[in-house]
């Protein structure tokens, strides 16, 4: 009886606005991927078709997450994190190398990128940690979770995958701020950071690959390497800027169609979209993202418990970070760090992970509507 009631209420939570926003953004992604890769030769399945398959798998992940119970999921947070860490270690030794970084595990004809899934698992871990017991004092609030984040972060930086590493830090920071840090703890963090900065700089800068350093240098000082690694950033800016108000229309993007723009279907897909659909298109896409994040924050603020709220906040933080950094880097505001645009960029692991995360968010909402039992 009660079960049936919860079931009914549960279906209510399947927010149609939320799903419509996700589908609209996914649609823009597939369209842009199709546009930039439609002329490519090769016997492999076209990218847009493969992306549709990833979306299909993502939809399954979304529904599974939505139908489950985040409380029971949180119970598996630590084992899941351990598993992900194992996979990251495996990637380090056995992974598939592409463009100088070792990020992928080969699964038959497919490859699988554990660092993407690590982000979602990290949200679960931190949410679980903070809601399990009252965490008081800066040691329990800051240091211990920091130590939880560290192994994953280091393994990801070692690959090297600067983008995913930064998302890790962003999720940690967002959760920390949501739980609240007292001024004293904040002071400690600041002091520590200042003291550790030279070492951290040495460690981080030293562990970066040449191409990453060059990209960062090209951003900090564009005159440093006018033609070298600044190339991506420049071509991306030309692509976006030349779209003007109305864009050049589907297939009309000369920058992307003529391959001046590298990675047009993955990290720089936003530039492709901006070139073809102009500022108006960009406004539409930004509005869709803001709408999605807005609804997600709504879910966070109405979550029925601490765990739900923290989960929602973590997922929103992850999403926000990726959207802002990706658009920022394509528009020449940040250095190029290699973060895909969620739901838009081509990529199996990222698409499935993002859709699973959004399903989990909706699960937080569903549980709020369900009765206590």
């Amino acid at each position: 009886m009660i079960d049936r009631l919860t079931e009914h209420r549960g279906l209510d939570s399947f927010d149609i606005r939320y799903v419509a926003l996700i589908l609209a953004i996914l649609g823009i992604g597939v369209l842009s991927i199709y546009s930039v890769t439609h002329g490519q030769k090769g016997g492999m399945a076209p990218y847009y078709l493969k992306q549709l398959i990833w979306i299909g798998l993502g939809a399954v992940a979304f529904l599974v997450m939505w139908a489950s119970d985040y409380h029971s999921l949180a119970r598996f947070a630590y084992p899941a994190y351990a598993l992900i860490l194992l996979m990251l270690v495996f990637v380090l030794f056995e992974g598939r190398t592409s463009k100088g970084a070792q990020r992928w595990i080969a699964l038959g004809p497919f490859t699988f990128q554990p660092s993407e899934f690590a982000k979602l698992v990290l949200v679960l871990v931190l949410a679980h940690y903070y809601s399990k017991a009252p965490r008081v004092g800066w040691l329990q609030r800051v240091i211990v979770p920091g130590l939880l984040v560290l192994p994953g972060l280091l393994l990801i930086l070692k690959q090297p995958d600067l983008g995913s590493g930064l998302s890790f830090v962003a999720v940690y920071a967002a959760m920390l701020l949501m739980v609240g840090v007292r001024s004293k703890a904040l002071g400690f963090i600041l002091l520590f950071s200042i003291m550790l900065f030279p070492f951290a700089w040495e460690g981080v800068w030293g562990s970066l690959h040449d191409y990453q350093r060059q990209r960062i240098m090209a951003f900090v000082d564009p005159g440093y390497d006018p033609g070298g690694k600044g190339y991506h950033a420049l071509q991306s800016k030309i692509a976006i800027g030349s779209g003007e108000l109305l864009g050049k229309g589907l297939y009309g993007g000369t920058q992307s169609q003529l391959k001046f723009l590298p990675e047009g279907h993955t990290d720089f897909v936003f530039a492709v979209f901006a070139e073809e659909w102009g500022f108006l298109g960009v406004l539409v896409l930004l509005t869709l993202f803001v709408g999605l994040i807005w609804l997600s924050l709504e879910i966070a603020s109405k979550a029925k418990d601490q765990l739900g709220a923290l989960l929602a906040v973590g997922i929103v933080a992850m999403l926000c970070f990726c959207v802002v950094v990706n658009i920022g880097m394509t528009a020449g505001m940040f250095p190029i760090v290699g973060i895909p645009l969620p739901l838009v960029s081509y990529g199996g692991s990222a698409t499935i992970m993002t859709m699973a995360a959004l399903g989990l968010l909706l699960n937080v909402k569903r549980k709020r509507l369900s009765l206590f039992y």
Binding site: H71, K237, I238, G241, S242, F260, D305, A309, V324, M333
Partner: protein, 623 residues
């Protein structure tokens, strides 16, 4: 679960903080919007202008292919710079004029250039028109570049084999990827014009050696003249290979064959390392790695001596009396014969209506297993073959690797045939005839083998039944990490036979050289064990050997191992149409063994000395 562990006030705080987050989010998005407005609206016309004049062309930078060394670090294959001429059609004003210019200036065939220019492909990407240009031609183009917009000279690395024909069949050659290859998944990263291995280890280890292409962005002005070139992505060099062969031994083996057709394989029975693998006639991989004209191809392919055929791994010959070695193992192991039991040989073996001759018409008299091997008595083996039957023989033959590929890292290895009743049923849909067993017993009839299989077989006997997969590559040097990855020897199995069996057979093989059919292989330097063989080419023979046209003369076989006490090398020699193995092939095997024994003391370790080898830097430039 609905409880919260934090004080109410703090949970309430969450809402305040979420509010701040929302405001922050709106601010950031507004900032992004502002930036995009700035890019697209305020500076839009500027960027549109840039995009329309974005006359940059992406040029692929071919990676430097991995180098190949022998077991002591002697360079066998490297890359040298060569000039290629590219044309970007988008920048060409009048194709016919350009074709005329190229033909006047450099003597290019106009039809060929026209064909390349009209071939399918992007107008924006430079296409290769000619490679391996001389420096003079390249300079000529450079100095006339202003008159020929769209033309570009690119320095590329060209595969070079310093040894020329030496080890050509092992190394193989490289060539432009074919349309069929482009369709295959293993070449997915490659593109039209990519260079891939087409033969030898160049082919079988192509994935390791090819590296990854980079990109260069070339800025051209409105007339298509190159203004500035910028490297976007550096090409990644391929990995280097260290082969198991000793190039000095390889050269000796090849010179021994000289102008004759045939093959010599030498391997280390304790690891399967191939020390030398010669096949004659050979070819110059430098020529084949170039773009050949159709006429040149036809010449090579139609050459009677089939120089592209690696006779060591692809040539299939009847083993002749070499087959008596596995036969002897089978006879002892099945207890068909004891070492001391004898057979009377009167020079022939009557089966049904047919008399099977011994090579010695007067016969050998009473022979035991030892003497049957030493003097290669056919009647003895007709008899035991008849007693065991073809299927038992096939079982032992297969144990020695007959009828299957050895698994050496060379493309298109042939398996030979180890016939059996089941094989004949399947292959010919006919019943096995009893008489065929008798031919098979002395390695004639349907039985065929490759010289590599024979070297492996004699090595297995020398090593008391323990065998390794013959291999050519002992280490791969990873260019990205700088690690030298040593590949372990691959055990293939052990023949299940008594140690006594191998002792008896090795004794006999030693006597083959000291007083049997192969005294010409006797060495003052080292003890050698071996077995001669003669593979019949034509069934009917009339008159003395000299009167038979060469192409109908028999093939000469000799397999050997040395030193007899603790074997370090196993050799198989096949000399086509050279008659009897004892006369033609045995001296060659002796030379190879003696050369190796002279070389061996200077080269104690196999891979451990690689670290000390001074590896020359690749000579081709990376860009």
């Amino acid at each position: 679960m609905a409880t919260t562990h934090y004080p109410e006030a703090e949970f309430g705080d969450l809402h305040r903080r979420l509010f701040i987050l929302r405001v922050g989010l709106l601010l950031v998005v507004a900032l992004l919007g502002l930036r995009l407005w700035h890019l697209q609206i305020r500076e839009g016309p500027y960027y549109r202008d840039l995009s329309e004049n974005n006359r940059t062309r992406l040029v692929l930078l071919e990676p430097a292919r991995g180098l190949i060394y022998d077991r002591h670090g002697v360079l066998l294959a490297n890359n040298v710079p060569s000039f290629s001429l590219y044309v970007t059609l988008e920048d060409v004003k009048d194709r016919e004029v350009l074709i005329q210019q190229l033909s006047n200036l450099l003597g290019f065939d106009p039809a060929l250039v026209r064909k390349k220019m009209t071939a399918k492909g992007s107008k924006l990407l430079p296409r290769k028109i000619k490679d391996r240009m001389t420096l003079r031609d390249a300079m000529l183009v450079e100095s006339n570049r202003l008159d020929m917009p769209g033309v570009m000279i690119q320095v590329e690395s060209q595969r070079n084999y310093p040894g020329g024909v030496t080890a050509a069949h092992l190394l193989g050659y490289v060539g432009e990827i074919s349309a069929d290859q482009l369709e295959k998944p293993e070449f997915v990263d490659l593109h039209q014009g990519s260079i891939v291995g087409q033969y030898g280890v160049e082919k079988s280890y192509d994935r390791h050696m090819r590296g990854m292409a980079g990109q260069k962005n070339v800025e051209v002005d409105a007339l298509g003249h190159e203004k500035k070139a910028v490297v976007v992505e550096r090409p990644q060099a391929g990995n280097d290979l260290y082969l198991t062969i000793d190039v000095r031994l390889q050269k000796v083996a090849e010179d021994l064959l000289g102008g004759e057709y045939g093959a010599i394989v030498a391997l280390d029975p304790n690891s399967g390392d191939i020390l030398a693998m010669a096949s004659r006639p050979g070819f110059d991989p430098n020529v084949l790695s170039r773009e050949l004209t159709a006429k040149q191809w036809v010449e090579i392919v139609q050459d009677e001596g089939r120089p592209l055929n690696n006779r060591a791994s692809q040539g299939q010959y009847p083993p002749g009396s070499i087959f008596k070695i596995p036969m002897a193992v089978a006879a002892l192991e099945t207890k068909t014969m004891s070492p001391s039991s004898t057979v009377f040989c009167n020079g022939g073996y009557q089966f049904g209506k047919r008399l099977y001759h011994d090579w010695k018409a007067s016969g050998h008299g009473y022979v035991d297993l030892h003497n049957a091997l030493v003097h290669s008595c056919d009647v003895y083996f007709y008899t035991i073959g008849q007693r065991m039957g073809i299927d038992v023989m096939a079982e032992f033959g297969k144990d020695f690797g007959l009828g299957k590929a050895t698994g050496v890292e060379l493309p298109s290895e042939r398996t030979g045939i180890m016939p059996s009743t089941a094989w004949k049923q399947k292959a010919k849909n006919e019943q096995w005839l009893p008489g065929e067993t008798i031919s098979a017993a002395i390695g004639q009839g349907y039985v065929t083998v490759t010289p590599l299989q024979m070297a492996s077989l004699v090595g297995t006997v020398a090593n008391n039944g323990v065998s390794y997969r013959p291999r050519l590559v002992q280490a791969v040097m990873d260019r990205m990490s700088g690690n030298l990855q040593e590949l372990p020897a691959v055990p293939r199995g052990k023949i299940n036979a008594k140690p006594e069996t191998f002792r008896v057979i090795k004794d006999a093989l030693a006597d083959v050289v000291t007083k049997g059919t192969a005294t010409r292989a006797k060495s003052s330097m080292v003890t050698i064990g071996g077995k001669t063989g003669t593979a019949q080419v034509a069934a009917l023979r009339t008159g003395p050997e000299e009167n038979i046209p060469k192409k109908f003369r028999d093939h000469a076989w000799f397999v050997a191992f040395a030193p007899v006490e603790s074997p370090k090398i196993a050799v198989a020699v096949l000399a086509e149409h050279m008659g009897h193995g004892g006369a033609a092939a045995a001296p060659l095997a002796k030379e190879v063994i003696e050369t190796y024994m002279k070389l061996a003391p200077q080269v104690p370790a196999v891979t451990s000395d690689l670290s000390g080898v001074n590896r020359p830097e690749r000579s081709a430039k990376d860009s």
